[in-house]
Symmetry: D2
Subunit: 283 residues, 4 copies
């Protein structure tokens, strides 16, 4: 078991020394460490993973003691400590398309993602059976066109009841209201397709097909009030050609969406993704 | 709906003309067509997809009539006609690791792979629940170390009862006896990891980790009596680095295995993979 | 040596049969063939490569005879025949950045691209030495801000004097006037970077860096009057991360630009790229 | 300008603290830092890049002072300090194939690789002209089959006269004698193709073509006495298909070889590649 320390503040001399000395003084064994300073903003980021049994105290005391070091370095320091022994809670939001859900459930079943999927919430029931086959509760929240606000209230309530570390929009297909984006800041992950060049307007796959693009991409990002414009966690592409129909392109797009989302989710839950402004550092 | 014609013989002038003229004479509309001649062996391959409703007869008569054209071109011509309206039957062989099974079941549930998974056979029961949640029978066939022959007999019997178009070794982890390789020739697909350079002997991931490889690959191939040396259908790789533990490498290996196997299975079932000798042409 | 026949027209029954029968009647040996019908437009495309010595006549007579077949199939058929023995003429337009020029010259020197680079035209002289070291004339055409029209006239005259099969904008950095786009239709290739998401306005690399993108792409396309919106020949991406400075991203972008442009150029010169409307088929 | 500190020793508590405190005490600004401990060997690696003008002394004094810290941490510590202001000296060994040479020279000409190519040594003269066009001396050292030892002596002498930071075997095609491997340990980089599966014996591309592989790889590694088995710096692959002839595969192999070698060379010269045993850490 390890403790994962993440820390960010405006860069200045001595930060690494202060943190490293604090850890060394208590005999902390660093398993993995990374540092970065963003040249645009001058913000310093670090992530350090320490063997829990190398420290003479538990996570609560570590938080207390490290908090003093952190605030000593910068009053506005942005830091956290994750105890990897604590199972991470996740709530998934879905609609009809199951490729992302299957990918995540398969990883959980294989003990590859050691997380606690507390609930799956769907605005349709298509994915109830597979969810329940994994012993996970499925909540159906219909989204009537004339009363989405109430539906979002219900989703908000359900999500809040689990206090999740991650809220995954696994092809949820509903645009979150700004208030929910704010409430879930830094915890809500979305996946969407991307194209080179990008296409605005309806039916982007059809546009991409008509334009003869050779690549289809997927972007996993944190949800913000500006649609699909939040901090990017991960991106990847898959190759398509003229022989691919629009349906083939959609299918290939799904293949890349699911792996990109699962990669982003893992990194998020391992506290590998540090955000400052609208940009991520992925350690 | 379409008919997929595949045809192979020693190359000579006039093959394309004969096939195309036959189709044109009956008003056949070609949806997709591909040709290739292997320079090493001089073997000609073609795959042609024809709209079913453009022909004045059904698949049985097409087989009869095309058969005459085919044998007229070469006595030893290797040809087949697939009716895409006929749902393809698949049997999956698994052990404990579920990543390939989940990937395939997810695609089936999403109607992305329009196949009929008739049965899943496992030498362990770990994957029974997920299988049965999809309404698919799961057969547990234990493989005792001292009597694998009987176990293979049982597998053989179960497989034969479904007359499948594909037998997928989805991380089955048992080496098929030569007789079964022969009986399932051209229908049994396997997936295995690959490394650059390759590692012989036990625990290849550990060897790869110690050697500091930067890529992990996966190869989907037809099963032949020579272990992991059958005709290659598809390969792909995923990047690893020094920060990846052996466990991380195994996990990333799984990610690439599942997509490569699903790609290979789709191509196989669409009759896109033509084999001659130990080499494939993938149209 | 081979003849490469490309042909396009509105799809209907019998096209393949007519072409194949014509070739078979004259003993033509097909080395490689591909077909495609675009589902959006119903346009049929084919590319066929025939061994020159298998036909009883030369390229001129082939053009004459095939022309009859082609116009017999469709009055508005779009067809051409390339004699691969004829060395393909290429003119390169460059500015200061040499990565694409080096890549192409290296391939020519290695006999990997069997082309005749007739001239390199630059609006700066930075790349004169490397050009001339390959025995290729370098023409310096300055582009004064207040008289680009005359400069383009000079470029146009120089290019026309070589009657090239390809005009390669190898990071030329000047926007062609519409008249030149029209005159060079289907022969002028450009390369430009692409991002997911795309960035409009100045200094896209800086914007991409600030946004924390994880991939940089490159697109090779035919030049049309609408800037960077011509038919796409090839695209690829390269991975970047938070540790990459803007300069690193520019450098990695160059690596992907040069290989994508060289791939696109090869395919263009081998008549593998068939265009219909604003979309390519790459055989 | 920066100083790049690399340091490795058996892991124990307090290493990071000691180094970071040393740098902080002198006001050193860390631009980039990375740490890693290999789980197999327990060896700790770090690379730290410090702004030169943030320290009150020059590189000589830094080496002296840091040396005390380093040996204080471990008697057998493996450390070095690179002054990025010092231009890195490189000698290239070539034969007839120019793709790697062109790629490197193009980067040097574009100021993308800020290195000093002191000499190119070839056992053939094919690449003399392009070398000399860049103002770089070309040395022709013939390798007669019956006296390679003398040829290697001459190469050894020429290389030694430049005291290079990197000796690049840019498709040199001659097997170095063990003594030269030992003398150039950690400075000689080689590039070679790789296949999945790998092929032993003559003409691997022909074997790979006959086997129908779908990927061709390239591996950049340090030269050791065991042929092609030295520590791996970088690897990548390129996709091939049945339509690719052996010649196409060789050409695509070259494309991936040149970018992998150039990437490896850059990382080596930036002291990003730390070696311990037969394994690299690439920061």
């Amino acid at each position: 078991m390890t403790y994962v320390i993440t820390f960010g503040c405006q860069d200045r001399t001595g930060i690494v020394a202060a943190i490293a000395t604090f850890l060394a003084d208590h005999g902390g064994t660093i398993v993995e460490a990374a540092y970065h300073t963003d040249p645009d903003t001058g913000w310093f980021f670090t992530r350090q993973e320490v063997r829990a049994d190398s420290l003479p105290f538990g996570v609560e005391e570590l938080r207390e003691r490290f908090g003093e070091v952190a605030t000593g370095l910068a009053a506005d320091a942005d830091w956290s400590i994750l105890d990897t022994e604590e199972r991470r809670r996740v709530v998934l939001l879905v609609s009809r398309e199951g490729h992302c859900l299957y990918d995540i459930l398969g990883r959980v079943a294989a003990d590859e993602l050691a997380i606690d999927v507390r609930a799956v919430i769907g605005n349709h029931t298509d994915l109830a059976t597979i969810t329940e086959a994994h012993g996970i509760p499925f909540h159906h929240v219909p989204f009537p066109a004339d009363d989405k606000a109430s539906a979002f209230d219900e989703v908000r309530r359900l999500v809040a009841s689990h206090d999740p570390h991650a809220i995954v929009l696994a092809r949820f297909m509903q645009i979150l209201p700004p208030q929910l984006c704010a409430e879930w800041t830094g915890r809500a992950l979305n996946i969407h397709h991307s194209f080179l060049p990008s296409f605005v307007g309806a039916r982007p796959y059809h546009q991409a097909h008509r334009r003869g693009v050779k690549l289809i991409g997927a972007t996993c990002h944190y949800v913000t009030a500006e649609l699909d414009a939040g901090p990017i966690i991960e991106q990847d592409v898959i190759r398509v050609g003229h022989a691919d129909s629009t349906a083939d392109m959609v299918r290939k797009g799904r293949d890349i969406e699911k792996v990109v989302l699962s990669r982003g989710l893992r990194w998020h839950l391992e506290n590998r993704v540090l955000v400052h402004g609208n940009k991520t550092v992925v350690f």
